[in-house]
Amino acid sequence: MVGPVGLLQVVRGHGVPRVDCKGSSMGEIMGTVFNIQRYSIDDGPGIRSTVFLKGCPLNCKWCSNPESQNRNPEISHRDSLCSKCGICVQVCEAAAITVDEAGVHIDRDRCNVCGKCIDACDREVLELMGRSMTVEEVFSQLQRDTDYYESSGGGVTICGGEALYQPEFTFALLKRCREVGIHTCLDTAGYGTSSALQRILQYTSLVFYDIKHLDARIHRELTGKQNGLIMRNLELIIRSGVPVVIRVPYIPGHNDSKENIEALAKTVSGMSKEAKVNLLPYHRFGMGKYAMLDRRYELAKLLPPSKEDLSKAKEIIESFGLACEVAV
């Protein structure tokens, strides 16, 4: 774990000029944030606060955070809390909302996100996903837990959506954190411009990097985009010297073939033997959130992978000299 002292050394080691952006216009940069999670202990070392940005250029079928995909704010509904009183229906001028036995439905084409239904519902069923916030606003939330970060070797993690999809915001926020000695993790799928990534890396202590598939064509089928940029960016990160953990969502029937795992391990080990690989077993817990956004979950029938399959994949990766862990 990197303590506060170690952190400063990392900063100096990289010879990064310490520019103060406080008071400058950088603090005013806006981002779309859908959640700031405190005491986050699964997104990097120690006690962290994780900033979830909204909007992602990829469109993975198995995404467990569908509320993070759309760059624009959306209304979600927590149907388990709904009393079916229908007040929201009455206040909606766009006639976008309906309520029936099954719960709330919002016609996303009609809804203009005016928020009237949210104010009208007294049971907190309806929630606005995504808020525009300035870097300073987010930072003032994050710095409330600075002493916890210090005592636990934790810090701040920025993830998405896709952090590189809002590069100016990500850059300014990570810079702001690092200037006061807060450890920063960038959690990204790598689909952003290399120049933006390069700037951001100056203020990044650790990268979590998703790789979904090695085959460009299949990658496009699964995520909507090819993987060339992603692989080039990985190389860039490795060359920068910022420590990186590769995260591979392990999705049965989609990217779990022996060939793919081998290709992945081979490519990564060709770039660096230091990189760690984490396998993230597929789970369906995101399913509930699709319903909250009136979206269909395509993989509803897909079951999580078996322990045996996961440990086989782990063995393959380790056989290339890489450290590998299966997340729980």
């Binding site: 202990i41 120690g46 916890y148 369906r284 817990f285 509930g288």
Partner: protein
């Protein structure tokens, strides 16, 4: 006190973790206890009554001691198969002791209405033998006839403060949950708390280490000195005679405990003679040898030290009769010299030490009193409060954590009994491995055990009151989430003041909607108020008014109690050496620091009041959602037909989310209240009273008398459960935010107890890295000035409840790497999957 190196070698730590506490022997004994039904045990009360009749006319101290002696000398004793540590309170596997003289009407009512077979808690008796029932009824009838007909404390209060005063306490203590004075419940022979008066006493290190013979010798020498030196100076004869009888009573009591141990020695010898199994025979011979020697003398080895602690705990328990708050104290310090010596001499293995400690744990858990209906309503049912304290820094700044601290945690983890509760005196330099061990045990144990106390804050508060460093550092957890000096501090009186009720009265201009009486001051019609400032002013005025009543109330009660039941706290005289030359019990100021017996004021409901004010400011003054009059109407209807208003109130900003708007209200209410309540000196010591924001069950009983509140709470439901707890389910920003809210101002300084309860899903504690994060959280909690923190670990039960009642569990998170969602948002089949995963501790 033994000073040790706190760092345990890895090898020893490993050995301790591999100790099998639950040997076949202990598994069997535990099973027997679990399978046994509670049975009412009557021999003890019959012996008490018999003795009382025999001693008519003697001074009350001596009568009490003689009755105590008879109960120990003539009660049936038993030694179970395979037991190593002996001393049973009753003759049943799971007997419930009762001393009828202390509450004859309640017992009579229970006996006659067949209420013994109800089961409200695991310490309620379920069965009584028909013959015993007859004897019990006879005993109760005798005492109903012979107990004083008037409650002198009540009479004194009525005379001083008027009839209406009782409304403030009546029915579960509306404003004051008076510890002593209650109109209806039955206090029997002494009509007050009598023998138990606000008393916390427990076996102490000097008494265990020196033996009771040492105490007897001191008392005898003091008597000789008194007679030789002519202590009966003019005007002092009453005090001298009191002292004389107190010392005699101390001698009689100590001798009785030694005699009781000798009965066990004889029994063990008899059983050994008949025993065929050579291994058991040897054990029985060993038990005989141990009981011959302790608690009269200084233990010669670890086994004797554990047995001595058992006998003294049992004796304190018997003597206290009705108040079960008999702690165990700093067990790792008390036993350590013997443990260390035995290990060094090769006389003891860690495995044997663990089993003996486990055997002791089981004996503690089997010690039960019959809980009568009334007591159960006002106290925490099922709570026995035999607190254990571990670790701590001494006056030289050395860490006293030792191998036994590790072993005690291991015993607690494996034996899985709800009690004793274990408290760790946490300090900044605490060994990280030990801390991880403690948190691991907490996780595996589940419910809040061990809890952590701020070592430095505890000691500093004593130093500030002029206690010498060697004593100020020697404190331990006691009773219901308080703490005291080992050398005999005595909490004097304790009253709770119900802030939520006072706030409710403020809302109705001092009028109580429940009793339909004007109980408070007329501080103004709140529907005419135009700013929050006016609410503050009115509330603090009411508080000030009640604080003054409370103080008078306390003065009169305490004085009357001391005058009328002088034998109270006898055990405190035998446990604290300073009481002997002083000729006073610790309760009366006989212990080393009389100044440390100031009253405790239980201060409940502060976070509820903060949320109330926040809701008013937010909804009435800032966003004009409704008027104060409309809010009062909705509350008067207990929200019926006003669901909308209630929901808005529930959704208003709540304490516990690191939201400065509410937290500033909380700070102002809490700190001003602190000033008001501690601003008047304690009438007996001239010192500031201490505040006590405990948890246990007071929030349930006190909530019962409070109507609907602006925070959205319904009438009669529990208040927030501890000093700095948020409204259930309303802290949605996570543990760091809750701690930040609780520690923005020095809420802990003037208190002896302020608990911070936190809930964690087991999944947040499944790896060393996660436990390290929790350790870091504890560190920051204390660095920010927190006093007491404990973690409840939720398991699948909690999630099942969340599935049923989503509105109350909106904040339960499910975390899987890179993903998080609220549990209640998952479709039912996935909720089940999470529940199943939780059972295997991996979600």
């Amino acid at each position: 006190m033994t000073i040790t190196d706190s760092m345990l070698s890895k090898a020893n730590a490993k050995e301790i973790k591999s100790v099998v506490v639950m040997t076949e022997r202990l598994k069997k004994l535990k099973r027997e206890w679990e399978d046994a039904d509670p049975v009412v045990y009557v021999d003890d009360t019959l012996l008490f009554t018999k003795s009382w009749k025999e001693t008519d006319g003697l001074p009350v101290d001596l009568r009490w001691a003689k009755a105590f002696a008879k109960r120990l000398e003539e009660c049936p004793i038993l030694l179970r198969d395979d037991e190593l540590i002996v001393g049973s309170l009753t003759k049943f596997t799971r007997g419930n002791n009762v001393l009828v003289a202390m509450k004859p009407r309640e017992v009579l009512e229970m006996a006659k209405t067949g209420r013994f077979d109800r089961k409200l808690s695991d310490i309620s008796a379920t069965y009584i033998d028909p013959e015993d029932l007859k004897l019990l009824i006879e005993d109760a009838e005798y005492w109903v006839q012979h107990m004083p007909t008037v409650n002198y404390v009540n009479e004194a209060l009525k005379e001083e403060l008027g009839e209406g005063h009782f409304d403030l306490m009546f029915d579960r203590g509306m404003v004051f949950e008076g510890r002593a004075v209650r109109v209806d419940p039955d206090r029997g022979l002494f009509q007050g708390w009598g023998a138990f008066g606000g008393g916390i006493a427990q076996p102490t290190m000097p008494v265990i280490h020196n033996g009771l013979n040492h105490v007897i010798n001191l008392a005898k020498a003091e008597i000789d000195k008194m007679v030789d030196q002519g202590a009966c100076l003019p005007g002092a004869s009453a005090a001298a005679l009191r002292k004389y009888y107190l010392l005699k009573a101390t001698i009689v009591s100590c001798e009785a405990i030694i005699a009781y141990a000798h009965r066990y020695a004889d029994l063990a010898r008899d059983l050994a003679l008949k025993e065929r199994n050579p291994v058991r025979k040897q054990e029985l011979e060993k038990i005989a040898e141990v009981c011959d020697w302790v608690p009269g003398n200084r233990p010669r080895n670890y086994w004797e030290a554990v047995q001595s602690l058992r006998f003294l705990h049992l004796a304190c328990w018997k003597e206290s009769s009705e108040r079960p708050e008999v702690g165990i104290g700093r067990i790792d310090q008390i036993l350590y010299p013997f443990y260390e010596e035995d290990l060094a001499q090769g006389r003891l293995t860690r495995q044997e030490a663990g089993e003996l400690l486990g055997a002791f744990w089981l004996k503690i858990r089997e010690t039960e009193n019959l809980v009568t209906i009334k007591r159960e309503h006002r106290a925490a049912p099922g709570t026995l409060l035999p607190d254990v304290t571990l670790c701590g820094i001494d006056e030289n700044g050395r860490d006293l954590t030792n191998e036994l601290s590790w072993l005690v945690l291991e015993v607690m983890r494996q034996i899985k009994l709800s009690e004793p509760a274990v408290y760790i005196r946490w300090h900044e330099g605490m060994d990280e491995d030990f801390m991880l061990h403690a948190l691991e045990c907490n996780r595996d144990f589940g419910g809040g055990n061990p809890a952590f106390l701020n070592d430095k804050l505890g000691t500093d508060r004593y130093l500030a009151r002029g206690v010498k460093p060697e004593d100020a550092t020697n404190w331990l957890a006691s009773g219901c989430l308080g703490y005291h000096l080992e050398c005999g501090e005595h909490m004097a009186g304790m009253f709770s003041i119900n802030q939520a009720k006072i706030f409710e009265l403020t809302l109705y201009n001092g009028f109580d909607p429940r009793t339909k009486k004007q109980l408070g001051l007329q501080t103004g019609d709140v529907t005419q108020f135009t700013s929050l400032e006016q609410f503050y002013e009115a509330f603090f005025q009411q508080e000030d008014y009640f604080a003054e009543i409370l103080r008078k109330h306390y003065f009169i009660w305490w004085s009357s109690e001391n005058m009328n039941s002088p034998m109270s706290g006898l055990r405190a005289a035998m446990l604290y050496e300073d009481c002997i030359p002083a000729g006073l019990t610790s309760r009366e100021g006989g212990a080393r620091y009389p100044v440390c017996r100031a009253s405790w004021i239980g201060d409940r409901g502060i976070t509820d009041v903060a949320d109330d004010l926040a809701a008013i400011e937010h909804l009435v003054f800032r966003s004009n959602k409704f008027t104060m009059a409309e809010l009062l109407d909705a509350m008067a209807a207990n929200w019926e037909g006003h669901d909308d208003i209630r929901q808005m109130c529930l959704n208003a900003p709540k304490y516990g989310n690191d939201d400065d708007f509410v937290d500033e209200i909380f700070n102002r209410v809490s700190l001003t209240t602190q000033m008001i309540l501690t601003g008047r000196p304690d009438p007996f010591t001239g010192e500031k009273p201490m505040l006590f924001k405990g948890a246990a069950a007071g929030h349930v009983t006190q909530g019962a008398s409070v109507g609907a509140l602006p925070n959205g709470r319904k009438a009669g439901t529990p208040l927030n459960d501890a000093g700095t707890s948020a409204m259930p389910g309303m802290d949605v920003e996570g543990p760091t935010a809750l701690i930040n809210s609780a520690t923005k101002a020095p809420h802990a300084w003037e208190t002896v107890g302020i608990t911070h309860n936190m809930k964690f899903p087991k999944a947040m504690l499944t790896s060393t890295a996660k436990l390290e994060n929790l350790a870091a959280l504890v560190k920051i909690f204390f660095a920010r000035g927190g006093w007491h923190i404990q973690f409840n670990i939720h398991d699948s039960d909690e999630l099942l409840k969340a599935k049923e009642n989503p509105e109350q569990y909106k904040n339960v998170l499910v975390r899987v790497g890179g993903y998080s969602a609220y549990f209640v948002d998952l479709p039912p089949e996935l909720q089940d999957e999470i529940i199943a995963r939780t059972l295997h501790e991996v979600y």
